[in-house]
């Protein structure tokens, strides 16, 4: 796509990132973004731009994730970490209601937990995660017109070896039409100095930019940003097989490959926990020791858990094979039937954080090789 002439663009210095955070805070947002902790880049509240992972990059491969130093001092020179924005949009555990029972009458009145919405500003959202936020909201059947968090997206210049967003159509760049973001940044670290090209996606994005020292974007900066994204696309670590995955998976229910992957898979569920679109939850009803105070909690669940499919008489999916099949088929196949798109955004988290290094792109390619397009219907 050619750079749009209508999108408003500007250039800010690397130092002005702090001004962006100040402007966001002044506008009532709580900025959260990438920080280094426990040898990984995780998401947390940002006090200032100094909290961001300056000069830190990541090195990923199946079952492998390491931080590394970058010589260019890039702030967003890392690929996705073990966490995603899901932890803010769909918390790992939350109380839904509580109730106290009158011991004499047995009566109780459930009190919904009052939700205190935090006005988050997500800073440093990669294009894959922009898509993931949209997909997650749709899966949770949320109002897509309701006001969401403020989003500062960052295009990817240095994709990880486990990334394949070019295959899923969700990255490594953002669209000019401002889809999903308020402001989008492209980090420029070349000879002209450490700067960011800023693309304005929404009116509220424009008002934040207005509060930050900025200069009009020279055409050269726009062209450099284009080149960075194009090169990133070319350096993508992985690709999906070039086929209609929904059809492939619909035909693969009885494929032998499931036995092969099941012999390696530990059914630990890590892949579903790190997945930015996996939305499944369990509901737990509890009481305290008196038995008269009850609570209902919702927490992330995984289709790899044996109890996930439990009905009286036993779980529906007992074999590891059937549980791996559920994950892969849901993510790349039946998600289309349910929500009109793939459930995968190519972030590669499930590959890096699988303890035995199972690679979804490899599994899909293996299915694609063995499933005959015509006969295996």
């Amino acid at each position: 796509m050619e750079p749009s002439t209508t999108a408003r663009r500007a250039v800010i210095t690397a130092e002005a990132l702090d001004d962006v955070l100040i402007a966001l805070t002044a506008a009532g947002y709580q900025p959260v973004g990438p920080v280094v902790r426990d040898s990984a880049i995780v998401l947390d509240a940002l006090g200032s731009a100094a909290d961001l992972p300056h000069g830190r990059g990541t090195e990923t491969s199946p079952g492998h994730y390491r931080l590394r130093d970058r010589s260019d001092g890039a702030v967003f020179g890392h690929s996705t970490g073990p966490q995603s924005w899901k932890q803010y949009l769909h918390p790992a555990r939350r109380k839904l209601w509580s109730a106290d029972r009158d011991p004499a009458s047995g009566d109780f009145a459930p009190e919904p937990v009052a939700e205190v919405p935090v006005r988050y500003a997500f800073v440093g959202v990669r294009p894959c995660d922009l898509a993931a936020i949209r997909i997650l909201n749709r899966a949770l059947r949320r109002d897509e017109n309701a006001e969401g968090p403020f989003i500062v997206a960052v295009e990817c210049g240095d994709p990880g070896a486990t990334c394949f967003c070019a295959s899923t159509g969700s990255g490594p760049g953002c669209t000019d039409s401002g889809e999903g973001y308020d402001l989008a940044l492209t980090e420029l670290t070349g000879s002209a100095g450490h700067r960011f090209l800023v693309t304005v996606g929404t009116a509220r994005g424009a008002s934040i930019l207005d509060a930050v020292p900025h200069a009009a974007a020279p055409q050269s900066a726009v062209m450099t940003a284009r080149r960075i994204v194009a090169e990133a696309r070319g350096r993508m670590g992985r690709t999906l097989p070039d086929t209609d995955l929904r059809v492939l998976l619909a035909r693969s229910a009885e494929a032998e490959r499931w036995d092969d992957v099941a012999s390696r898979c530990l059914a630990c569920g890590n892949c579903t926990m790190v997945c930015p679109t996996c939305f499944c939850t369990s509901v737990e009803d509890t009481t305290d020791l008196t038995g008269d105070h009850a609570e209902r909690w919702e927490s992330w669940d995984s289709c790899f858990d044996i109890d996930y499919s439990y009905i009286h008489g036993g779980a529906v999916r007992t074999s590891a094979k059937s549980r791996y099949r559920q994950w892969l088929t849901h993510k790349f196949g039946t998600w289309h039937d349910q929500f009109g798109s793939s459930g995968c955004v190519g972030c590669g988290r499930c590959i890096a954080w699988c303890p035995v290094g199972i690679d979804v792109t490899e599994e899909l390619a293996a299915l694609d090789e063995t499933i005959e397009p015509e006969t295996a219907r």
Binding site: H90, A253, Q338
Partner: protein
């Protein structure tokens, strides 16, 4: 008999359509049950009870036959239960028939009159009784499967002249496990044909007496042989264990009942009823939204895949 609630409970939107969701949070309101009081608990068999519930809060919206609710027992848990009562009742009471198989269902069976439970719903699809005007109706049940069918049966019997033959084929393991024997008279009086069968007829281990039994012995599908209804003008409603439903469905297809006129009721783990917990997925379906009632031509290929 009523005690005033400690806190007035606000009417809560129960339907997924009414879920007050924003883009940053899913409202917990659809997960909050409305309180109902158990007004009657009738023991049907050794392990199965039928409960009548009356609302204490804003009642849940009206249900259709075949829909289910999520019933909560204080501190124990919440389970999906099909409504077994007639949708034609004029009040807001709900009738559920529960078989005690675990913690929540056993607690419900023990919930005497006056007990307070929570209810969310109604959820899911219903039996297409309305779509079958002028047709013969065939109900095929295995075990507790008669409970979800009863709702549609009572609806049809309540407006009897809108339908052709109404036939009920019910199977159970042993005579004592047959449900609703005491209301069979009334079904017959409304012009239903009721055939019952048991898997086996054995002497009681204590009394050594063979139980009295006026029905057949064998599988519920064996009863299909005696059907006189014209298959192309028949709608079949089938509910029971999954194997019973697939065998019955195939047998009904063979009899000539069109696949889209055979309806089955599916069961999967359910935590929300709103299509957001993910647990009830069966291939592309969320059984709580696309089911539990679905046509056999839709369900059969999904059920044919082992451990889907």
């Amino acid at each position: 008999m009523t005690t005033t609630p400690t806190t007035p409970t606000t009417p809560i939107a129960q339907n997924s359509q009414n879920a007050q969701n924003t883009r940053t949070a899913t409202s917990s309101a659809p997960m909050v049950p409305a309180r109902y009081r158990v007004v009657a608990n009738h023991r049907d068999t050794a392990d199965t009870h039928t409960l009548r519930l009356a609302p204490l809060d804003q009642p849940i919206p009206r249900f259709r036959a075949g829909q289910f609710t999520m019933v909560y027992v204080f501190g124990v848990g919440e389970i999906p239960l099909s409504v077994s009562g007639s949708p034609l009742v004029g009040d807001d009471t709900l009738v559920h028939t529960v078989r005690a198989v675990g913690a929540v269902s056993a607690a419900l069976c023990q919930a005497g009159p006056g007990s307070i439970v929570g209810v969310r719903g109604p959820f899911g699809t219903g039996w297409d009784v309305e779509d079958s005007l002028g047709r013969n109706l065939l109900f095929v049940a295995g075990g507790i499967g008669l409970a979800p069918l009863r709702s549609a049966l009572l609806e049809a019997l309540g407006t009897r002249d809108r339908f052709g033959f109404i036939t009920v084929l019910a199977g159970a393991k042993v005579p004592a496990e047959h449900l609703y024997r005491d209301e069979e008279e009334s079904w017959l009086a409304h012009g239903a044909v009721v055939l019952r069968t048991v898997d086996r007829l054995e002497p009681d281990p204590c009394t050594l007496q063979v139980p009295a039994w006026d029905g057949s012995v064998g599988l519920v599908t064996d009863l299909l042989a005696g059907l006189r209804a014209r298959p192309e003008h028949t709608t079949a409603f089938v509910c029971g264990p999954e194997v019973t439903m697939t065998h019955t469905g195939s047998a009904l297809l063979e009899l000539g009942i069109p696949a889209h006129r055979i309806e089955v009721c599916l069961e999967r783990n359910m935590r929300c009823g709103l299509g957001i917990c993910g647990h009830c997925q069966l291939g592309p379906d969320f059984v709580c939204l696309d089911g539990p009632v679905t046509t056999f031509d839709h369900a059969e290929p999904l059920l044919a895949i082992c451990e889907l």
